[in-house]
């Protein structure tokens, strides 16, 4: 019988984890430097940091890659430590909901027309 909580796509997920790892290793330090270099002390300064459309697109893509990476990693952890299939599925679902929700929320923040107008 097929296991209910393994997707039998291990090599694909393994590769996805490595590809997103490379992307994140480049993008996250880059974004970190951008924000730490500015470090604004007031709200208008903080808000204006997010003004460039390219930056917001890069942030959203980076976090999307991050969620794929985190999903692969959390899946590995759950497959190693959580043996009961039902519990494993429930936890994996919670991971997916958390990550998908975070990306959707971030998109809503970054492309909120009230903050930077329609672009």
């Amino acid at each position: 019988m097929k296991s209910a909580s393994g997707s039998h796509t291990g090599t694909g997920v393994w590769l996805l984890q490595r590809a997103t790892a490379l992307l994140l290793a480049l993008a996250l330090p880059g974004l970190g430097v951008y924000f730490l270099a500015a470090r604004p002390t007031d709200y208008p300064g903080w808000q204006s940091l997010f003004e460039p459309l390219g930056l917001r697109v890069l942030m959203l893509l980076t976090v999307a890659a991050l969620t794929l990476h985190a999903w692969a990693g959390m899946r590995d952890i759950l497959m190693d430590y959580v043996r009961p299939t039902g519990l494993r599925l429930v936890l994996l679902l919670a991971v997916i909901v958390t990550l998908a929700g975070s990306v959707a929320w971030l998109a809503a923040i970054l492309f909120n027309p009230a903050l930077w107008g329609v672009t």
């Binding site: 709200y43 903080w46 969620t67 985190a70 975070s102 929320w105 903050l115």
Partner: protein
């Protein structure tokens, strides 16, 4: 069948250095996963309005907030350096034991250094 010693007591398991880097890579990854929704929450608050910005600034300024930031800084640094090491190992670079041990030490030292530097910035 002879009785073999089985040490599953976490406090009695002795890991080699490379094993520590590996398990900490996993632990730091789990921590970073947990931080994702809170990061988005903080961003949402800080960008909502003047008051939200000040609220997040207060959270970050609080000693407990600083401690969380410091832990996450270590988690990110360790996960990044250990991850790069894993990618190198995947490419069959640095596979022999001596090199693997040396790169493990480098990962532990580099993430400790980043954490210390950040702590210096945070608490002064």
């Amino acid at each position: 069948m002879p009785q073999r010693p089985v040490y599953l007591n976490l406090l009695r398991i002795r890991l080699p250095l490379t094993g520590w880097v590996s398990i900490l890579h996993r632990l730091s990854g789990g921590l970073l996963f947990l931080a994702v929704p809170f990061g988005v929450l903080g961003l949402s608050q800080s960008l909502s309005d003047e008051a939200g910005f000040r609220r997040v600034a207060e959270w970050i300024g609080h000693p407990l907030g600083k401690l969380f930031l410091l832990i996450l800084t270590w988690a990110f640094a360790h996960h990044l350096f250990a991850g790069l090491r894993h990618l190198a190992l995947d490419a069959h670079w640095g596979l022999d034991l001596r090199q693997a041990r040396r790169s493990s030490i480098a990962v532990l030292l580099a993430s400790a250094l980043v954490t210390l530097l950040f702590a210096g910035k945070l608490f002064t």
